[in-house]
């Protein structure tokens, strides 16, 4: 368990650095929050008073450790704009972002796995070439472009789904899902290409193994060999990529939430940036980065648990 301790230590160091870097970047943002709040007609005394109230007159490092101390107990400060506790604001919006990302991941996997299986069945065949071209095309389609095209197709032209807006689960499951279909598609259709390519490549490697030959020799039909014998041992890289892609997924979620006006963490962050709400930006960026680091850490661990060979190669050396 020596490697686990080392990895945990590394995790703590990275988390510390990430929050510190965020704090430094955010706090040298030009534009004095006191002037933003009080307006340009405020007297210098008023501004100085408000800065003192907000604690902005103290050295940056002091403020950082202050912030870190409260952050560790779950208090990320209060928004400069409306006094809302930042932790509460994030907690309120997190379910929307999580739902979006999970649905998008389901869309991506729902396309990637069958397509990879069908492609690997006959490498170089018609379907394989078709899917490779499709993946290449989708790879060149960023989510903000795809979102616009989907809105144009499904909301404007055919009027099937709402273009923007969010219905919470309390409005009923169907209303909620209806408002999430286009956002999830926008995010998922960008993701599936990478997953498909990785899984297809691993499937091709697995299919060369002796146990596949044995399964075939026993006379099992090809789809059974693919689904029951080849898929599971081929999915290790897929799991890693799922973890690594979380970063892209989070960035994508920020854009998609903005396009479809979903009240998620990404829109909270954008609003904070536009309003120069430092404490809100600091809180959300730190939260996102910390979540990202921890997820990557867990994926690494999961990978090691699933495949004992990795443990030795990756962590002992």
């Amino acid at each position: 368990m020596h490697w686990l301790a080392r990895q945990l230590l590394r995790l703590v160091v990275v988390l510390f650095c990430v929050t510190l870097v965020t704090f430094v970047i955010v706090n040298i943002l030009p534009g004095d929050i006191a002037i933003v709040i009080l307006g340009t007609l405020a007297t210098p005394q008023d501004i100085a008073g408000l800065r003192a109230d907000l604690g902005l007159d103290r050295p940056m490092l002091v403020r950082y450790f202050d912030w870190l101390g409260s952050a560790l107990s779950g208090d990320l400060g209060r928004s400069y704009r409306n006094g809302e506790p930042v932790a509460q604001a994030i907690a309120d919006r997190l379910p929307v972002s999580l739902e979006l990302m999970i649905l998008a991941q389901l869309v991506a996997l729902g396309i990637a796995v069958p397509v990879a299986l069908l492609s690997a069945r006959k490498p170089g065949g018609f379907f394989d070439r078709l899917s490779a071209s499709a993946a290449f095309g989708f790879l060149a389609m960023p989510n903000f472009m795809l979102g616009i095209v989907l809105i144009y197709l499904f909301s404007v032209t055919f009027d099937l789904l709402p273009a923007t807006g969010f219905s919470p689960l309390s409005d009923g499951l169907w209303d909620n899902l209806e408002s999430m279909i286009l956002p999830a598609l926008t995010l998922g259709l960008v993701e599936w290409t990478v997953l498909m390519r990785v899984l297809r490549a691993d499937l091709l490697t697995t299919l060369k193994e002796d146990f596949i030959l044995l399964a075939r020799a026993k006379g099992l039909p090809p789809w059974r060999v693919l689904m029951l014998h080849a898929l599971r041992p081929s999915s290790f890289t897929l799991i890693t990529i799922l973890g690594l892609n979380i970063g892209g997924l989070i960035g994508g979620a920020v854009i998609v939430e903005q396009i479809f006006a979903l009240p998620g963490v990404g829109r909270l962050l954008l609003g904070g940036i536009f309003n120069r709400d430092l404490i809100l930006v600091q809180g959300t960026v730190s939260f996102i980065a910390a979540a990202f680091v921890i997820i990557n850490f867990l994926v690494d661990m999961l990978y090691a648990v699933l495949d004992p060979r990795v443990r030795h190669v990756r962590f002992r050396s």
Partner: protein, 289 residues
């Protein structure tokens, strides 16, 4: 199945190998890229209307003889804006990765060559940059730096440091153990000379291939920033900004969003095609023998 499985199939590569396919998949993208580059460079001299000139009476006009690609929400000529937008995309797309590669390349080379503490420090630095989701870091940087063409380039340049550092570090690690480097050291060459004369030339081909890929990634990233309203400030045209503007009138004037989207798509697709072919040529593991 066994017959087709025996054929060497390269994972993820576009269908290549057949002569006429390879030719078309190279000529079309290269032709498009050439067109975009030439138009972006000569935009000032080919008699285009001012991309910022508004003509509110003529807003949201569909493509016609007078306005080949129509007009946008403020009655500005779309063709002119798309071409000037290409200039923006190209400046950011070419300069930002170049900047990142200059800094990241130097970091990666020193890390791979000196190893030990330098390596540990460099890898730590890269790990921290990578600990942020890329777009969130870009947003934070542009919010801090302020919106301008230069600052967007700088922010996206910083973002490309980790990738560049990784490529150059991995390649330096491989080359630094070669006999010719040992030979250079035996005749008393300095570290600087070994790095610049022996190792650097070998890093250029993989770095170049990677740079091509980075251009399309950065063009998309610039588009995303401008789309969110945190990239190139108005009225300077940018494809991402144009798509965002057009989004508001998707029901009455879809061309205002779909045209810049299509232009961006074709450009990124072309870059990916060319990048893939160059990468296949540079990477011996992926090239067909």
């Amino acid at each position: 199945m066994s017959a087709s499985a025996a054929k060497p199939v390269v994972a993820g590569a576009p269908v290549a190998g057949r002569k006429f396919r390879l030719r078309w998949s190279l000529v079309l993208p290269l032709g498009w890229l050439l067109l975009v580059v030439v138009l972006a460079i000569t935009a000032d001299w080919i008699g285009l209307p001012d991309p910022a000139a508004q003509e509110l009476i003529l807003r949201r006009k569909p493509p016609s003889a007078q306005f080949l690609l129509g007009t946008d929400n403020l009655g500005r000529d779309m063709l002119s804006r798309v071409i000037y937008g290409a200039r923006t995309s190209l400046i950011v797309g070419i300069c930002a990765p170049f900047l990142g590669f200059l800094i990241g390349g130097a970091i990666g080379m020193s890390a791979g060559y000196f190893r030990g503490k330098v390596d540990l420090l460099a890898v730590g630095f890269i790990d921290i940059l990578l600990a942020f989701p890329a777009l969130v870091l870009a947003l934070t940087f542009t919010a801090y730096l302020g919106q301008s063409l230069f600052n967007v380039t700088l922010a996206l340049g910083i973002l490309s440091i980790p990738a560049a550092a990784r490529v150059s570090r991995a390649n330096t690690l491989a080359w630094a153990n070669r006999d010719f480097v040992l030979a250079a050291r035996t005749i008393g060459a300095s570290n600087w000379r070994i790095l610049t004369r022996e190792i650097l030339p070998n890093l250029l081909p993989p770095m170049f291939a990677f740079w091509l890929v980075a251009i399309s990634v950065i063009i998309v990233a610039e588009g995303a920033l401008s789309f969110l309203g945190l990239g190139i400030p108005a009225p300077q045209p940018s494809w991402g900004g144009m798509i965002a503007d057009g989004r508001e009138a998707l029901d009455v004037a879809p061309h205002t969003a779909l045209i810049p989207a299509a232009v961006m798509f074709i450009t990124v697709l072309s870059l990916n095609f060319v990048g893939d072919i160059v990468r296949n040529m540079v990477d011996p593991r992926r090239s067909a023998l």
